[in-house]
Symmetry: C2
Subunit: 239 residues, 2 copies
């Protein structure tokens, strides 16, 4: 926890918050907090700054936040990914949120196993927890938007053009020859296929709806490694 992420409901009086549960335990264990010490803090979807620890007991802590600094810049990249297997989904979501992605579309396609859609990791409470942990890791406060679409064709034909709205979009595909561009300055979208890749039909449908197939080189990376590498490449700013 690099930032104590606060909710409106944590306020017990103007300028005073009371923290219990997981965050209290992390204040105790990780930060070894003592009264008078400061930690980084931020309001969910709001400003960041510090919080002074006033009192810490066995069950809860009282702090005085002082929040004046905007959170870090969001990533300009929208992530559209074939729904990964549950454990990978968790890793990819956490990693991309720490890197500042604010818009996720997890979609069905031929090679997405139907069982993945019933994973408890996709339930609202689990998504919320994963995102909060990732925001705390990154020192960010802005909750991302996460959408799920369990039909590929209607998503691509009916929704994707509106999502992209003219933004460049790239999907890794073994048969492509063009590399992923380095340092897209404006908004862009990254489309991540399933293990084993999109089918020919799928990549063609994506290409007809504004997604450029790109080669990612000869190495096959795990999704949780490919996503940070591709997000970094797409947003790298050459001088």
């Amino acid at each position: 926890m690099n930032l104590l992420l606060l909710d409106e409901s944590d306020y017990i009086a103007p300028g005073l918050v009371r923290i219990a549960g997981r965050r209290h335990r992390q204040l105790l264990e990780v930060i070894k907090a003592e009264p008078g010490k400061f930690c980084k803090a931020g309001m969910l979807n709001g400003l960041t700054g510090t919080a002074e620890l006033l009192e810490i007991g066995a069950d809860a802590a009282t702090l005085r936040p002082d929040l004046t600094v905007p959170p870090p810049e969001p990533s300009p990249v929208t992530l559209i990914a074939a729904l990964p297997r549950p454990k990978t989904f968790q890793k990819v979501l956490h990693a991309a949120v720490t890197m500042g992605v604010k818009e996720f579309w997890f979609i069905a396609c031929w090679k997405v196993d139907k069982s993945y859609w019933s994973s408890p990791n996709l339930e609202t409470a689990s998504l919320d927890e994963t995102c909060r942990l990732a925001l705390e890791q990154a020192g960010d406060t802005a909750m991302p938007r996460i959408e799920f679409r369990n039909r590929f064709k209607p998503f691509v034909e009916d929704e994707l053009p509106g999502i992209l709205a003219g933004r460049p979009a790239y999907a890794g595909h073994p048969a492509a020859t063009e590399p992923i561009p380095v340092g897209s300055r404006g908004p862009a979208a990254l489309v991540i296929g399933p293990e084993g890749g999109f089918t020919g039909y799928e990549i063609d449908l994506l290409a007809r709806h504004g997604v450029t197939p790109v080669t990612l080189g000869r190495r096959t990376l795990r999704t949780e490694v490919a996503v940070p590498a591709l997000l970094a490449t797409l947003t790298a700013q050459p001088r």
Copy 2:
């Protein structure tokens, strides 16, 4: 397993290999191999290509490899990292090997917990297994070199200049202002600090021995996410 990694000892006759154990199980379960089918294959530290499955039983498979293609290009980046906690070490090593890193130096520093050095993950057999799995994932065959140095100062003063040999090297440091360069074309080195960062003394000693402190932005990433992102940034090739 995207590539069946072969050893000289797998050969039972000229042009014929016999595979048992984990790789046999993966041929059965993951690839659902049947006689007459081909899979990607490669010789440890040698060429890649295909292998035709001739026979598969409950305990072993016999294949005929045909290896004529060099493995993918290695990464030009040498990774020097404060030894991470054992689970993170495993993830970082696997990720960086899939991205083609061929030279690793894991080093001590003030914030590396002494207990990390006795982790079974650092034993030769475990390193060998992690690297083989990563090579199989990436479709690579070239085993990396992995070194451990449990004293920071002698490493930096006595060995680092020879390792860098004039190559540019970068270490993430919160107080730095220069960003990590995009697309280093030649060999380079990436120096990864411990959780909580290098101390001021350590970053100064590194800087005096050829390592440029760079800022990685306001977001604090987990080591296993930072490494793929930084490797990708450092080797991105702007057009």
